[in-house]
């Protein structure tokens, strides 16, 4: 077990506009007038050295360890590959009730959006992650718990990877 854990995070935003030229196969892309450049921020989130379980990252899910499974491991047809398949039905990333310190989710799909609720299964899915996009945020430290985060696909299905860390 480590002595401490943290997550360094960074945001980078590029608003652009693209003008179709006389020859329609050619476009001229420039920064939008405001901000006329890029935007961004960075920070460090301190998270608990002892996380709620191996599933705090999708890369080392408890399903990867046969000795932690209740099933007979020899009968499992596949192993955990670090990627969660989503459908249009809400999925809870964890049932842990600790305060959420930091979450990162990336939509690994190529077609459909991933929708994220911070208010439970029936909450508002106001965060949209387009294909190959990601989102990260720090929790408020009191109200937002790890088990408040639900994800689903907007249509059909998609896949995600994630970190969900407790305070």
């Amino acid at each position: 077990m480590p002595n401490a854990r943290r997550v360094i995070f960074r945001t980078y935003v590029v608003p652009t506009q693209s003008l179709e030229m006389e020859e329609t196969s050619v476009r001229k892309t420039t920064f939008q007038a405001s901000p006329n450049g890029t935007l961004g921020g960075k920070g460090i989130a301190t998270i608990n050295a002892t996380q709620w379980g191996d599933g705090w990252t999708s890369f080392a899910h408890q399903g990867a360890y046969w000795e932690d499974q209740s099933d007979v491991w020899e009968l499992q047809g596949d192993t955990w590959d670090g990627i969660l398949n989503l459908t249009t039905s809400p999925t809870d990333l964890t049932d842990d009730t600790n305060d959420l310190a930091f979450i990162y989710i990336k939509n690994l799909g190529d077609t459909n959006n991933c929708l994220v609720s911070l208010n439970g299964t029936s909450g508002n899915y106001y965060i949209i992650i387009p294909p190959q996009g990601s989102v990260h945020l720090r929790g408020d430290g009191t109200t937002l718990d790890c088990n408040d985060v639900f994800v689903k696909s907007d249509t059909r299905d998609t896949t995600i990877e994630w970190i969900i860390a407790k305070e």
Binding site: T11, V13, S18, S34, L39, G41, N124, Y126, P131, L144
Partner: protein, 129 residues
């Protein structure tokens, strides 16, 4: 000659672990790599956004009004005191400390507001429809 508008955004993070107190941090062995996403908003944007800077936050401040149909929001804490962000007008669940930013494509029904945790701060924000 149609003009199209896009917002390309990246949210990047590096999980780290410290083995001994006072020692250096290494890439977290539970993750094994740095993580990043890179995408354009999936919604079709119809106009340019506007960056607003130096917004003093002493109480609740609305940055995306209900019914504005915004598709993307960026908010950065440019002050020294923590602020909280809500996407739904009531649940202030996202914390931003000095220099930190939140950027995401959002549902058109979102109503984004910011308030200070304790003392006043300042923010900059950008949204696009």
């Amino acid at each position: 000659m149609a003009t199209t508008y896009k917002v390309r955004y990246k949210n990047h993070c590096t999980p780290q672990e410290q083995i001994a107190s006072g020692g250096r941090y290494y890439l977290d062995s539970d993750c094994g790599r740095k993580l990043t996403g890179d995408a354009n908003t999936s919604a079709t944007l119809s106009a340019t956004g506007t960056l607003t800077t130096g917004v003093a936050i002493s109480g609740i401040t609305e940055i995306v009004t209900a019914g504005s149909n915004a598709d993307f929001v960026y908010v950065k804490n440019t002050g020294s005191e923590d602020v909280l962000v809500t996407l739904d007008n009531s649940n202030y669940l996202i914390l931003l400390s000095e220099g930190e930013a939140f950027a995401s494509e959002i549902h058109v029904d979102s109503n984004v507001k910011v308030k200070p945790v304790s003392s006043a701060s300042t923010i900059e924000h950008f949204s696009e429809t």
